[in-house]
């Protein structure tokens, strides 16, 4: 049953892409959206069935893809990622109807979103080197085309597309080389054959393959040294696409690491997984810092994706290290926490990106400094964006808290393990979890508070109106998911537990006791978020009652509306409000050496005298330190090499012939 459902899903998604390209303007948007929603549902059913029943299915056809044929197989690990993508895809396809209504997008735009969705559903099911690489590159191509929807209007979109294409291709080349080397030595290019031979592979080979594939998958997941495309591509892509990118495509980087590291190479060395954990630590801290410092909503969300992927990588790295160290049960728990956080991240990041899209759609700008006062104008979007923001800051009662608690618990239990290196890694992981918790909270209080509360700081924000119902349904669906998973995580955990056992080479025993809360099997600490929320509500009602019932004279009963207190000034304008830049300024000053903000202050004086400034303009840009330190020099060196090489062929036929002559003589001498 699951095979049929999964393939119906794929078929429907590609049909949606086809219809999106073919149908005339008005109907194609709706048709594409409906079909892709149906595709997601079918894929969800298929993946769900695999997850619940635990049996994998596999299909091989030699007709497609010359010379290699196509192998598809969906095991619980892959099914989890398909399910996560399907859930986000469902919300996105419903959202895209409303999003595209005003400026009906071109044929290419409506076609690429379902195509991108189809490839996202395909990648976890690929079961041979060739199929995986085809699906991977198709995903890169469709996401690039989707990113280019409004390349006509903005130069940054074209920059972003160029960066994105170059970096994904380099990543894909690394993965291709790694997998091909593996297939060559493991005799056979299907994952099953490779997995069967994983015992006979020599250590240096498996390490080289792991490092190469890690390079590729980390660049797709957005781990720090290779994350540079993420804060450029996500803000420029249309919101449904960036929601899919952050909610689903980034997960596939983690999927790749797990599939190659655990399934194909059989767990491998401990230092592999410590490298993954180190990547996670650096990404989490760097991402959280930059999220707290950026003032563009989508750029903030992109950096927080880097942060959350860092947390997931810490989990995956710790799990791998523990598994390599022999503690299977604990590794299962930590991996469960990492995958649960991944699913939660897909939900709340998808909801946030759709919210940011609604903001841009209604208020015409993404810059937090020019928003404000939208809570009253767009209450529903404010509630959904708020739910997403609070759950990403891991506040109790929402899904962020549940998965970060599980991750914290797993890492904590790991301290009992013997090897000092693992303990050091776990300590770094917990410290990062702590640091990023505070920074993420700051970033999202800024996004929520400065963006939605106070007075509108631009006429666009002032004229903002609530977005269409379809967009609200999209956001609501994901926000609802966050709340439900927050209150009763026990519903989803057994399913993820089965994916974890499939994920780890030696499989892991049940990490979770059944029940609605988070009850760990291996150790007696457990938490019941449901009860926490219940207690919170009871306390809330009691406090509200206490204040309400206080004896008060009649006319003081209802709260009075008065001008906000501004030290007696009567003219309280929006310009006096705090902006996102000034909100993040103290944090930037504290972490100045990492963020390296560059300010430029121009004071133009009046003609008459130097002492009376006419206008003071202040610009501040926090650009990516990694990009400046790592990428700029590399690009400069390549450009220098290009100019040097250009001077060699100067057009004279004698020089060309001289090349040939020299080679001929050299060859003759060598062969003599």
């Amino acid at each position: 049953m699951s095979t049929a459902a999964y393939f119906i899903g794929l078929g429907a998604a590609s049909a949606a892409a086809l219809l999106g390209a073919v149908l005339p303007a008005r109907r194609r948007l709706l048709a594409a959206a409906v079909l892709s929603a149906a595709a997601c549902l079918a894929a969800l059913v298929g993946a769900g069935d695999v997850l619940v029943s635990g049996h994998a299915f596999s299909v091989h056809t030699a007709q497609v893809l010359p010379l290699t044929g196509v192998d598809l197989s969906l095991d619980p690990l892959g099914a989890l990622f398909v399910a996560a993508t399907a859930v986000v895809g469902l919300a996105v396809s419903c959202y895209s109807v409303g999003y595209g209504v005003h400026a009906t997008p071109s044929r290419i735009a409506t076609a690429t979103l379902p195509a991108f969705l189809a490839t996202l559903l395909l990648v976890p099911a690929a079961a041979s080197v060739a199929t995986f690489m085809v699906a991977w590159e198709l995903m890169a191509l469709t996401s690039l085309l989707a990113l280019l929807t409004d390349h006509r209007r903005r130069r940054e979109t074209r920059d972003a597309a160029q960066w994105y294409a170059a970096m994904t291709h380099i990543g894909a080349a690394a993965i291709l080389l790694g997998l091909v080397l593996l297939a060559a030595h493991a005799g056979g290019q299907s994952f099953a054959a490779i997995a069967a031979h994983r015992r006979q592979l020599s250590l240096p080979l498996t390490s080289v393959v792991f490092v190469l594939t890690l390079f590729g998958f980390a660049s797709k997941a957005g781990a720090v040294p290779l994350h540079v495309w993420l804060p450029r591509a996500h803000p420029e892509a249309p919101s449904p696409v960036s929601a899919l990118m952050s909610g689903a495509m980034v997960n596939l980087g983690v999927y790749g690491i797990l599939r190659v590291g655990e399934d194909l190479l059989g767990g491998g060395e401990m230092w592999w997984w410590l490298v993954v954990a180190a990547l996670g630590v650096v990404s989490a801290v760097f991402g959280a810092l930059h999220a707290a410092a950026s003032t563009d909503t989508k750029r903030l969300l992109a950096y927080s994706t880097v942060d959350n992927v860092g947390l997931v990588l810490i989990g995956v790295g710790a799990a791998g290290a523990l598994a390599a160290g022999g503690q299977q049960a604990l590794a299962g728990l930590v991996l469960l926490a990492a995958l649960f956080h991944l699913v939660n991240h897909a939900l709340f990041k998808g909801c946030l990106f759709l919210g940011a899209g609604a903001l841009q759609h209604a208020a015409g700008t993404r810059d937090l400094d020019r928003l404000g006062g939208l809570a009253r104008k767009m209450p529903a979007t404010a509630i959904f964006f708020g739910a997403g923001a609070l759950s990403i800051s891991a506040l109790p009662g929402l899904n962020g808290f549940a998965s970060e608690w599980l991750l914290f618990e797993g890492l904590l239990q790991g301290f009992a393990s013997r090897s000092a290196v693992t303990v050091a890694a776990l300590l770094a992981g917990v410290a990062t979890l702590a640091i990023t918790g505070g920074l993420t909270a700051t970033a999202f209080v800024k996004a929520l508070g400065v963006g939605f509360l106070g007075q509108p700081r631009s006429e666009g924000a002032g004229a903002a109106r609530e977005v269409g119902p379809s967009m609200l349904i999209g956001m609501g669906f994901l926000a609802g998911g966050c709340v439900v998973l927050g209150i009763v995580p026990g519903v989803v955990l057994p399913v993820i537990d089965r994916a974890t056992t499939a994920g780890l080479v030696a499989g892991a025993s049940r990490a979770i006791r059944p029940g609605l809360g988070l009850a760990l099997a291996s150790v007696h600490s457990e938490i019941d978020p449901g009860l926490l929320v219940g207690g919170l509500l009871v306390a809330l009602v009691v406090a509200w009652g206490a204040v309400r019932l206080a004896p008060r004279s009649a006319e003081l009963r209802s709260p009075r509306r008065a001008a906000a207190w501004g030290c007696g000034r009567d003219l309280q304008t929006a310009r006096m409000e705090i902006t996102a830049t000034s909100f993040a300024e103290p944090l930037q000053r504290v972490f100045a050496d990492v963020l390296r903000p560059d300010h430029d202050l121009e004071v133009t004086h009046t003609a008459e005298s130097r002492y009376f400034p006419e206008a003071i303009t202040f610009h501040q840009r926090v650009d990516d330190a990694v990009e400046r330190v790592v990428y700029r020099p590399v690009m400069a060196a390549v450009a220098w090499w290009g100019h040097l090489a250009r001077r060699v062929p100067n057009g004279s036929v004698h020089r060309y012939l001289a090349f040939g002559f020299a080679t001929l003589v050299l060859v003759l001498v060598v062969l003599a």
Partner: protein, 486 residues
């Protein structure tokens, strides 16, 4: 008998073009001739697939699965090119630059060019193969100089000179092989000494020293015609100055015909020396061409030169693939030859159209092509996607399997270097094409004529089809690969 027909059809068309004054009907006749060649190629492929080989003209022509495949490639690319040259010639005559007589000379030379290539591919005798390849050089010289500009003259001089020297070295190599064959006891003497089948039969008895020197000369000699590293400098000049259909034909299929010759000699040399010597040679030459292409693509300012350097890169990849030498690698090389032929032809024809319509082929003088000419921009964009080796198109599958072949044979490091070069080239081409294709709408979008659009889109669709479904080619590729590999 079939082989003679294949070679003579284009010759007949050429003769027709020479006699009658040029008009659109003649153009379509040329196209029809090449379509016939393609059809006959397919028939030949089906025939050779069932039983080993067909031969004609009392032993001079011989076709096995490999040459049948090459005939199909030549047919397909020349069909695309001749359809496009109708538009090219009409635009030229309309532009008043050249007379109708000039166009009929053009059509004759093109058909002679196609005939020479077919002869080269179908010849049984390696000497005849050399003669045919030399004839193609002669035929294309005037085609390169067709536009009568100073640059075209300079390009044709360089083209003829470098290629003739290269080909002379190749002849020296052929002579050495002939010398080695003469001294094999029991080898058939007389006309059929250089017959490929007999050489393959006695290849293990050839003298290794002589064959090693011969193979070095052959790789260097034919490498010039293939555009491989040391003697590649003529390629960007010739392809950027030649009219678009001609450069499409040359880049798409002439380079690969020369590589076909190398493949034939490699089979013989492998018999005599074992695979390691030729593998080392081809790896060095392949990596050198990749390095040259990667370095020079970084700062390209002209569309056609960019595409020419891109051909050097793909020839380097094909050399690496052939160096691996397993059946999988050779099958991938052949698929790559077909894919590259189609994609490169489509791109050159599109750049020709850009040159005609925009008046210049400088990248920074043609901004926002997608906005101004959606169909042409789209074709050029998807052509680049195909050329850069992205999935739906067959170049991705062939590159993937070539790298698999190389890794299987222990050339993993070479595959790694080639991937690095391809990544650099990808970034460079992406940077150049970004300015060319993307950008704001300066003027209202104008349509591109159907005559141009349909064949090019057809070429891309074919390239994608060969990339996705294995049906028509799989058996032909395997048969052709087994022909070359011991």
């Amino acid at each position: 008998m079939l082989l003679v027909v294949i070679v003579s059809v284009p010759l007949a068309a050429g003769a027709l073009a020479a006699v009658l004054p040029w008009c659109r009907a003649i153009g379509w006749a040329m196209a029809l001739a090449d379509a016939a060649v393609l059809g006959l190629g397919v028939v030949l492929a089906v025939q050779t697939d069932r039983h080993r080989a067909a031969d004609g003209l009392d032993g001079l022509l011989r076709a096995d699965a490999l040459s049948a495949f090459m005939v199909v490639v030549i047919g397909a690319v020349s069909l695309l090119a001749t359809i496009q040259s109708i538009r090219y010639l009409e635009a030229e005559i309309a532009g008043g630059e050249h007379s109708a007589r000039h166009s009929s000379l053009y059509s004759l030379l093109v058909q002679v060019f196609v005939a020479c290539m077919l002869a080269a591919v179908l010849s049984a005798n390696l000497g005849a193969l050399w003669v045919a390849v030399e004839a193609t050089t002669v035929a294309t010289t005037f085609l390169v100089g067709h536009r009568r500009t100073d640059k075209a003259l300079e390009a044709s001089w360089k083209y003829v000179l470098i290629c003739s020297v290269g080909i002379a070295l190749a002849f020296l190599g052929t002579v050495l092989v002939y010398f080695a064959a003469l001294h094999v006891p029991g080898h058939p003497t007389g006309a059929s000494v250089l017959d490929w089948t007999s050489l393959m039969h006695d290849s293990h008895r050839l003298d290794p020293g002589v064959v090693r020197l011969a193979m070095a000369l052959l790789v260097l000699g034919y490498g010039t015609k293939v555009g491989l590293a040391p003697m590649h400098s003529w390629l960007p000049d010739a392809h950027s100055q030649a009219p678009a259909p001609v450069s499409a034909l040359m880049s798409g299929v002439l380079l690969t015909v020369a590589f076909y010759a190398l493949l034939r000699f490699k089979a013989v040399a492998d018999g005599a020396l074992g695979p390691d010597f030729t593998r080392m040679l081809l790896v060095i030459v392949g990596l050198a061409s990749l390095l040259v292409a990667a370095s020079l693509l970084l700062t390209q300012r002209d569309v056609k030169r960019m595409l020419a350097y891109h051909s050097i890169e793909h020839m380097g990849l094909i050399a690496l693939g052939a160096a691996a030498g397993t059946t999988l690698a050779i099958a991938a090389v052949l698929l790559h030859i077909l894919g590259h032929g189609l994609a490169k032809a489509v791109l050159f024809l599109a750049s020709g159209e850009i040159l005609l319509v925009e008046g210049t082929s400088e990248i920074d003088k043609i901004p926002a092509l997608l906005a101004r000419r959606p169909l042409l921009g789209g074709i050029f964009g998807f052509g680049l996607v195909a050329l850069l080796g992205l999935p739906p198109f067959s170049l991705f599958v062939s590159e993937l399997n070539m790298i698999r072949g190389e890794a299987a044979v222990g050339l993993g490091w070479a595959a790694g270097l080639s991937l690095v070069a391809m990544a650099v080239i990808f970034a460079a081409v992406m940077a150049h094409s970004r300015h060319l294709l993307l950008g704001g709408p300066t003027a209202s979008p104008s349509a591109t004529s159907r005559l141009v659009g349909i064949p090019l889109v057809g070429g891309l669709v074919a390239c994608a089809a060969f990339g996705l479904s294995a049906w028509p080619l799989q058996s032909l590729l395997d048969a052709a690969a087994r022909v070359v590999v011991r």
